[in-house]
């Protein structure tokens, strides 16, 4: 595949990924495989680019003090082990299985996002002993409402193991699995949406590194393929973030739900029919 094709596809993937908040991998892998790249190589190339996009956006969020470092550090223990396991599974899995899994994950994310449209964040009234011991509380200044929001994370005993699962999916499919991580932060651990998204970004970089190391060891990271993808995804994400502030949430969400549905069905059918 030529530099130009890889670069352009990656710009589009990074652009849509940044606007939707799900990262470029969910767009990149279906498109690269559609253009003829082997799914395992597409996964390996994608997961390297995930390090770039997540680290880039995490750098801004961390400096804004919205990210909860302790929540991130605690949950990373689970996601990196999961990512190592997930990447190892990919190496021995059949290609059709990977297509089907990818389709299932995309469609599950679609369902989660679709349901989330009408649901607001529910605060937790009680922090369990384990979460208190882990010091999972914090505060951040919300510029939109001009207030400091104080919150307490809870059910860390459940969040940890679930994040292992999110790590497995990230390593297995070469994606950030940000939607899943945000869901766990939001619905299980009771973190405010902005803290969920920004902390998830911090975790994704380390998780992707663990997965990348397995693919590197397997000789699947081809610098000639990975480099244009990294450059394209970073550029696309930069442009997507700039445009995001000009669009309404509803427009972005409606557009992304459509893309997610088409790609999910396409990957699932390709897996079932054995393309």
């Amino acid at each position: 595949m030529s530099f130009h094709v890889l670069f352009l596809v990656s710009i589009v993937a990074g652009f849509i990924g940044a606007m939707s908040g799900m990262g470029g991998g969910v767009i990149l892998i279906p498109v690269l495989t559609f253009l003829g790249m082997d799914i395992k190589h597409a996964i390996a190339v994608s997961i390297v680019s995930v390090i770039a996009t997540s680290s880039g956006s995490a750098s801004a969020y961390v400096r804004d003090r919205i990210t909860n470092l302790k929540v991130g550090m605690f949950l990373e223990m689970f996601t990196i082990v999961g990512a190592l396991a997930g990447a190892a599974i990919t190496l021995i899995s059949g290609r059709r299985v990977l297509f089907i899994l990818f389709g299932v994950v995309l469609l599950s994310s679609w369902v989660a996002l679709f349901r989330q449209r009408n649901e607001g964040w529910r605060q937790t009234s009680h922090q369990d002993i384990f979460s208190r011991w882990l010091e999972l509380e914090g505060s951040y200044y919300d510029r939109a409402v001009r207030q400091t929001i104080v919150y307490q994370g809870t059910r860390a005993y459940l969040g940890g193991p679930l994040m292992f699962g999110a790590g497995v999916i990230a390593g297995l499919l070469g994606i950030g699995a940000g939607a899943l991580k945000v869901l766990i932060h939001d619905l299980v651990m009771g973190l405010p949406p902005k803290v969920s998204t920004t902390t998830s970004n911090l975790i994704i970089g380390v998780t992707a590194l663990a997965g990348t190391s397995v693919y590197l060891a397997a000789g699947m990271i081809d610098p000639g393929l990975a480099a244009p993808v990294i450059l394209g995804v970073v550029l696309g994400a930069f442009m997507g973030t700039r445009l995001l502030v000009r669009l309404t949430n509803q427009t972005v969400q409606r557009f992304f739900l459509g893309v997610l549905l088409v790609l999910g069905v396409e990957m699932l059918l390709r897996g079932i029919w054995g393309v």
Binding site: F3, F74, Q147, V150, L209, P223
Partner: protein
């Protein structure tokens, strides 16, 4: 959720050390340096041979061997465009690793928080192990 109108800067921590700032700059520097190295590699290749096609793979070595081998080649001979590509990928992979390393030092020596020193130490150990895989 509670809300207050307290100043944002003082809300999270009483320490004077700006950990969030440091981690943010580590991540930003890593990504920018990586992108710059990759871009130099491609521009150099274009100027030298007129195309952007690279055909080399990383086989039979772990991450640290890959970095050392790239550095050794850069030091021993005229730097080639493909070495810049390798370094760009290497720097990108090192970025979250350095972030975790800085976190271990912060929790151990600034916050003196043994729990989180242990947690970040575990993450660092697993990452180090994974980067030694071959």
């Amino acid at each position: 959720m509670q809300v207050s109108t307290h100043p944002p800067e003082k809300a999270q921590s009483g320490h004077h050390f700006d950990m969030e700032g440091l981690l943010g700059y580590i991540l930003l520097t890593g990504v920018l340096l990586s992108v710059a190295l990759l871009a130099i590699g491609f521009v150099w290749r274009w100027v030298r041979v007129g195309n952007l096609r690279f055909e080399h793979s990383i086989v039979g070595m772990n991450f640290f061997e890959f970095i050392l081998s790239t550095l050794r080649q850069m030091a021993s001979q005229a730097s080639r465009p493909r070495l810049f590509l390798n370094m760009g990928i290497g720097v990108l992979m090192l970025t979250p690793f350095v972030r975790v390393l800085a976190s271990v030092f912060y929790f151990a020596f600034v916050e003196h928080n043994w729990k989180y020193t242990l947690f970040t130490g575990f993450v660092l150990s697993v990452l180090t192990y994974s980067l030694f895989l071959r």
